[in-house]
Symmetry: D2
Subunit: 366 residues, 4 copies
């Protein structure tokens, strides 16, 4: 099966291994007429780059994106957009002992189980570098959404046990701290926590929250292509995500209908909800409120502590992983979550265009 | 867009409204040679039937399934299997006021937003009866899995605040109580809790857990068609689900790599994990351990308490919903979760068959 | 793989065997708001019914269609439309010897090769009755197209060697003769030819031509989802079709660029072509001229003459096929071609809606 | 809609414009373990290169392919294979007047109709260079098929009116003449014919035939994903193809069942057919005989003769196209047909693997 594509109307296919010559993505189905430059895509990519703070790896990866097709005279043409990023900092000796053993928490064992062998250099296809293609495509999807008045914002709600309560969000501070938290004070606490983790040669997990503003109501397809189901898949497809929830999420399990139901109200002919326990989605379709989604990330599996594992020849060994590793994935993954949400929304917005005969007739009226 | 189909190699398409003439499903891609009778499918359907206990609606729906195609002389032929269940108990007057207003927590508003109007009788396509098609197809997927030595078990881990700790699971008790909880004592407490909800004309949410035993390692496609991502979409596509997690799920966000990583070990040439924080999935592929998944269900939105809402003509009103409604969806949804998991697994097992050249050559060797 | 569905945005799934309880189709992705009755679908189905003339089988199949979902108060709701036709005239003893041998020109051998066994009654899934689902769905697609000002017309251009030259088309006569030829005089000659075939216990092939009027320019997706490629697949998927051509088709192979190129001209600001060798398609997209397509049908494989074949146990035998069989498939297939063309066009018209950013913004402008 | 991908299990996505920086393809779903080098792919690409004879353009395009991902230590890993060919000989001034007018027989008008504007340099995405991606992927599919014992051979059956009768095929001569015809004498006649076309500043069409040897019986999915239907779409998606036929094709329309039916016979337990009018496909599945397919190519639309057309600002003009153009597409398209056939077969071979329960159980037996 082909597992490296995402979306139907706006379809992306990512390719590339951590230590191959390059990594990239092809976007098939981007509409014509969007002004687009490599610089705009680069801005998105720079948000996932390492070396932004001391809590992310210090490798010097420039990750410059090049547009190879689908853009002519500064605008998209409607044909596939091919984006490529050359891999540069490939110190393969750093990853030597991965070849012969299965790192705990990594995909080494499952790749070998599936394919019989694997490109072991730097995690190969399961490396975090695979998200470069997602983010490059996400930059384009986000720009399309912005043209439609739809904006997406993601941030680190929790770093380990340090959680910013919704009541203390200062959204302007997200870009002010290296952890992308919506509160600089909590970010300071989280930094202390991460420092302790690093000293223990350990790593931490966290939670990313993502909100979408400006979605028209009625987007998403009932039954299997529900907006929330599609978002869940999109976000869960990011390497380290172990849970996804919408609106009140797992808290809804202990709630009551009388609380969890959002009352509708009408003012000046405009229908809205008094609360947003639903997280902006009802019956799998957007309800006009902000979409609210959270994703739980597991701790970075690469830690320097000695771990027990087995070799590819079935010997039990003690493994020490060397090299530079983030003690937490969350800050760099913020833009990845944002990208996956953007890709999901644009695809369902396009799919929705053939939902009503009256609107189709109006579209094709000549 | 077509949103009522699920799966690729083993593809189902469900159809039908709560109060239309019938509800059904077409399964396209079921392999030939499976012994199959309507009776086996009926056993699955009976698990989602109302009237099983006093905590589920007392309507008398017989929901008898009929096989219309794809089975010949008791075995599947490889051609589409069409299953139909006639709707019988359609007291449409019960649902009269739904036509002109938007019930809080329901899909009435979003359906109208998308399509311009809706079949308002009993929720139409967004009714819980839509899951009949899923469960009928799930029965077949489960039987295929069983032939391959793979078994799925779902149960109610939590009913509102009543949660059965993993250490107190008695799996044989699942079928002994009406709530499908893995511990009869906790089920008793949950019954008391639900009784209180009903007395307050309120409803409750809960959590369903699902485990899969016997999956070979390496199933699932890296990147976008990951096993966990696919499971998340499948389960989140069930009406009332607001969150999905795999293994340690949201708890992983506060864990450390040194704890969350499952060590590998090898005994007698067989590789396994010492713990299962990963919930049986690494890098989007099965790792050979049991798959563990949890889904959070919101409280039933239909409650008898007066609620504030708006009419389809934008007037603010107070709404009282009458009729028979479950105070909780969870017990009837257990088999739906099991079905969606089965459908996801069988599809990815089939997709996996073309992963390795040596196995393809062995398959086609003549 | 799931092979019984067609289309993406407007997706149909057909099911059912010739001698099973019923045959049907599910249409997923039909927009809301289309006025639709069973009677309108029945009109299409009646055109493929046997017993219309003495050149089609005399079985008395009423083939009454029932709408099971997706229509409410006379209009489509946007949810899946399930259509069913009960099988009635199932004289299974007519088909007895098919069970144990492979009829030449039929799918018996290939079904057994693929699936290990087959539903041998009346051809099972490979029966011409499979097209009932296509035509029922085609009726809906055709009505949608008509609302958009797009009309499709198919007819028998050739019956065996009797071919109506384009210069002698009288389109009003198509419905006046039992063979659906666009010239009653040629139809008379074709009847004499078919009578001779029947006397020799033999069968005949023919050619169906289909034209589409009113298509806007630019429909179809470049590269792999070209309009002509999609039409070719759609039409070639009809059982007995062995060739498909667009515009000048195979004659273009012996033509010259100076002749085959259609000159563009502009009158009153409207661009059109002076000729239509292209058959209305350039670069895989509609060019605004009428679409012209032809499909070659092989002779009905079921003939009464003794034929040489083998049994399922690998014995060489002489086979005599009894029962009622059309000496030609073409007349009944005219509406099937029309349906497949309609299904292809509607799907690509929907897909095209997200091609241009300016049109998307106009669609979602609030 | 995304139109630049092909296939499901073995899915390719092509990208790139004639005069952009590069052209390429991503293959998603190639199984692991195939030995693969850029050199092998280059051999296929060289067969579609211009400058091979005086009947194809004399541009010096080196078209060197580079493998960017999916291959490790000389073998495919199961992850996406990204192939890229840099564009080199881009003399954009040659194509200047294309920007402002619609060339007859080209996709200029339809691209503008669909997308509002187009990359006019050298035909942009509708250039014949788009097939580079197809052929690069086709090389891999062909190698996989060869491992399975399946071989494909295509050749020019007709160049304009010069047709090689089947009885005079000398297959070893295909590679001996620049036109890839299966008879050097006919190739000589065709060369004279093409010379005359060029002197008249005109172009010619032709017919490519393709045969497949070694296909197991039962490949292809009944109903809509039939082998012949899938092949028809694949081949018709090549730019200049106007018709496709299988086996006797359009001749079957004037044949009789008694002739067209292929008798089955059994010798030493092996079932075969005495004739092959079916072209190796019955009921949409391979029947074990050689697959035979023909595609009709229209004459190259780019001719030097003055042609009537309109500008993008709707003025009627006389157009003279300068630059270097092939008087015929057929010879360079032979390997493209072969590639599209290979891609179709490998996809359906993979899809077929989940058709039978007994074979699935055998595959997953542990």
């Amino acid at each position: 099966m082909a597992g490296s594509y995402f979306g139907n109307s706006f379809r992306i296919t990512t390719w590339g291994e951590s230590h191959g010559p390059a990594i990239g993505v092809v976007i098939d189905g981007c509409p014509s007429g969007l002004a687009l430059s490599a610089k705009e895509i680069q801005c998105f990519l720079d948000r996932r780059k390492p070396g932004q703070s001391r809590y992310t790896t210090q490798r010097n990866e420039s990750d410059q994106v090049e547009i190879l097709s689908g853009v002519f005279e500064g605008r998209t043409t409607g044909t596939p957009i091919s984006l490529i990023v050359r891999n540069q900092d490939q110190r393969s000796k750093d990853y030597g002992n991965i070849a012969s053993c299965y790192r705990p928490g990594h995909a080494d064992f499952t790749f070998d189980s599936k394919y019989g062998f694997r490109d072991y250099r730097g995690g190969g296809r399961s490396s975090g570098r695979e998200t470069i293609g997602r983010v490059a495509a996400g930059a384009i999807a986000s720009k399309l959404l912005a043209e439609m008045g739809i904006t997406i914002m993601a941030y680190a709600k929790s770093i380990g046990p340090v959680t910013v309560p919704t009541s203390e969000y200062h959204l302007t501070e997200i870009m002010e701290n290296a952890l992308y938290m919506p509160n600089n004070t909590y970010a300071g606490q989280a930094e202390i926590y991460l420092k302790e983790c690093m000293e223990r040669q350990d790593s931490s997990g966290g939670i990313i929250e993502c909100t979408v503003h400006g979605m028209p109501a009625g987007i998403g397809e009932p039954v299997f292509e529900k907006l929330d189901a599609s978002l869940a898949k999109a976000v869960m497809s990011i390497g380290a995500v172990k849970g996804v929830e919408i609106g009140d999420g797992f808290q809804a399990a202990t709630s009551h209908g009388s609380i969890n139901n959002d009352a509708f109200t009408c003012e000046n002919g405009s229908i809205s909800k008094l609360t947003n326990h639903s997280g902006g989605i009802l019956g799998g379709m957007s309800d006009g409120s902000d979409i609210v989604l959270r994703a739980a990330f597991k701790p970075t599996p690469s830690i320097s502590q000695v771990q027990q594992t087995v070799t590819t020849t079935s010997e039990n060994i003690d493994l020490s992983i060397h090299g530079r590793h983030d003690p937490i994935i969350v800050p760099r993954a913020v833009v990845v979550v944002e990208s996956m949400v953007a890709l999901t929304l644009i695809d369902l917005l396009f799919a929705n265009m053939s939902s009503r005969l009256d609107k189709i007739l109006s579209f094709y009226k000549r």
